[in-house]
Amino acid sequence: MAVTTHAAPPTAAKPRSGSFRPIALELWHDKAGMIGFTVIVLLILMAVFAPLIAPYDPAIQSVAARLKPPAWLPKGSWEHVLGTDQLGRDVLSRVIYGARASLLVGTSVVLLAGTFGVLFGLFAGFKGGRIDDLMMRLVDIQVAFPGLLMILLIISAVGPSLSTMIVVLAVTNWMIYARVVRGIVLSVRQTPYVEAAEMIGCKPGRVLFKHILPNLTSPLLTLGILEFTNIVLAEAAMSFLGLGVQPPATSWGLDVSNGKDYIFVAWWLITFPGLSISITVLSINLFANWLRVTTDPQEREKRFARLKAVERRRNGAPAGAPAKA
């Protein structure tokens, strides 16, 4: 499958079987990226096989074994490597199971918001004209909503739960995908050969799949990964505020929140879940940083900023000046 390279946004080397080895090799040479990648893989395995790995059921309490310190401290024991919490639950097991909430919320939100945003952006970019104008205005309006306050408001109205959180985060995070996709669609359609293809009567579907989708893969992949880290942090923050994951389910943010009252007698309660969040996000960032440099010379912040600048220009020029990618 020969992917035509276009003038507009960078195209990733598609990870086919043939091109996989060089990519893997490149990753191997980037130590930070490699570490990030390894940690991510381990995290995923940990989350998937949590019941097999975790020494205890994370919800099992033992009133007699409360607030036991980690094994290496004077009063610790190897029965509970990272100690126990205020209800005698095993911290290590909770950290292992906590990965599930982060990864589940992160993945579902990125998929939900991503799918909707991409379809929205594709449609707007394709239709162009008034419809595009109207649709992007909708995006602008939602972007101008007071995001987190609205999230708090809605969650407190509906009642906090894992699914509520996923839906609300998806509803408030799809706009960036729509903007990125629309920008790319517009710029690709400007290229001479797509114009030519359309002129000779290529069906929109064909243009879409043959010419536009390949250009979307790489930027969307990077965007999705980076959005993933934002969602992981958002999940933790919301669970910390008591508006996210509800017990007896566990989440790192929730555990930091539960542990913060015990910070003076049991530092390990907030340390390990907090570290887990940081390590997860850092690893993904390291990996994404590598991925971005590898597949996309433009960095996200810049792209985002440019996008905004482009949008300002577009808002200024109603003719719908083409986005400069």
């Binding site: 007699a64 007896p248 910070i263």
Partner: protein
Amino acid sequence: MTLIRNLLSGVVFAAMAALPAVAASASEVTIAIGSEPSTLDPQQRDDGGERAINDNIYETLMARTPAGELVPGLAAAAPTQIDATTWEFKLRPGVTFTNGEPFNADAVVASVTRIIDPALKSEQMSYFGTIKSAEKVDDVTVRIITTGADPILPSRMYWMKMVPAAYSKDPNFATAPVGTGPYELDSWSRGESVVLKANPKYWGGAPAIDQVNYRFISEPGTRMSGLMAGELDVITNLLPEFVASVPKSEAVQGLETSVIILSTENPTVKDLKVREALNLAVDRKALAESLFSGYATPTKGQLVNPRAFGYNKALEPYPYDPEKARALIKEAGAEGKTITLVGEAGRWLKDRELIEAVGAYWDAVGVKTDIQINEFGEYLNQLFDKAKRPDAIFVVNSNELLDADRETSFAYQAGGTATSNTDKELAEWVIAARTETDVAKRQALYDEVTKKAHDNYYLVPLLNQQDIYGFSKRLDWKPRVDSKLLVKEMKVTEE
């Protein structure tokens, strides 16, 4: 000694008045309270933050000793009962409000009339619903008339703060309070702090501490940090685990009792055997020793606070007997059946922990506990829903008036605020006890109420909780049974 201290504090006071910028005098304390008062009108709201502050500014006709015994406050003596619905109070003479208004019969009549006036919409009306009116007899004698016989009127008057007759009509009253108490308001910066200064003309003698700063901190961890960092002198609701870490701490038997209310109608729990098993399954002693590090005591088969009037001394605590509980569950055919346990988190000390621990005990004897920790609003919906009672619902009851009427009308009497049984006989007893003025008969009625509920396992009473306070090293104070933060009882020692 007292004279010297009074003189000294008078001097300090004069100095402070002359040099208002001088801060951090030796006799200044900083107290953390959970929430900012919504108003400083002492009669309007039922608000813990307001109460913590106004307890030092205002006073009541009746007061309590630190141990909880009812004693005269602004009244000169205990009231006398003229007839079933009339109580007569003699007032302490010569007391004035800090704005110069006299405290006399007119002030008492004004205070009573004001709080029961429907126009004020006072949230404290649940304490004063039985009061009909107040009449002045002479300058230092007042009669309070109730709608029906009300044996606990003296306790109620321990809750009603006395306000100045004229100034309480002023629109500024809610932000600039004026009382008869040992302290007066110095400043209130919204969102930040309330500062009180000693009332030098206090009838009980000027207090030892000249200035009180209140800060509003809702997070227990943040309060703890403040205490450890030396910014705070008093914090409330200290977690038992921290007793060893803080500079100083004191605990006292509190007003709060945790309980799980069982439905007598829902499937599974309507079986007496199941309800008995749910009581036998819980190791209250272990919960008190471990979860509360000993700062709680197992209840003795009832919800009524041990210090309250109407407490049944004859009842035995439910034993911890998981074997028997398991057998009972089996006998009732309830093995593996689901019991929904509704609760909330964060409102009361270790509420979630306690709920989850009880759930685990129940699971251990063969039922399946479905714990539903709800957001507080939704939790209250379920607590108050009279039509559809949850199988089991957790609540912590607080008995400010220290009278069994509170617990029995809350969780025993069918149709009560949070009751889940439909026992008509029990309800009749509760109603009869409410208006019985003969002390012995009244006690006997409550004994019957608590005995019957005990034998029918309507409730799973858990623990009488202690209030634990954390202090800075320099603070000296014995906390009170009624949880009031009375600064006039505190002292600071020089470091």
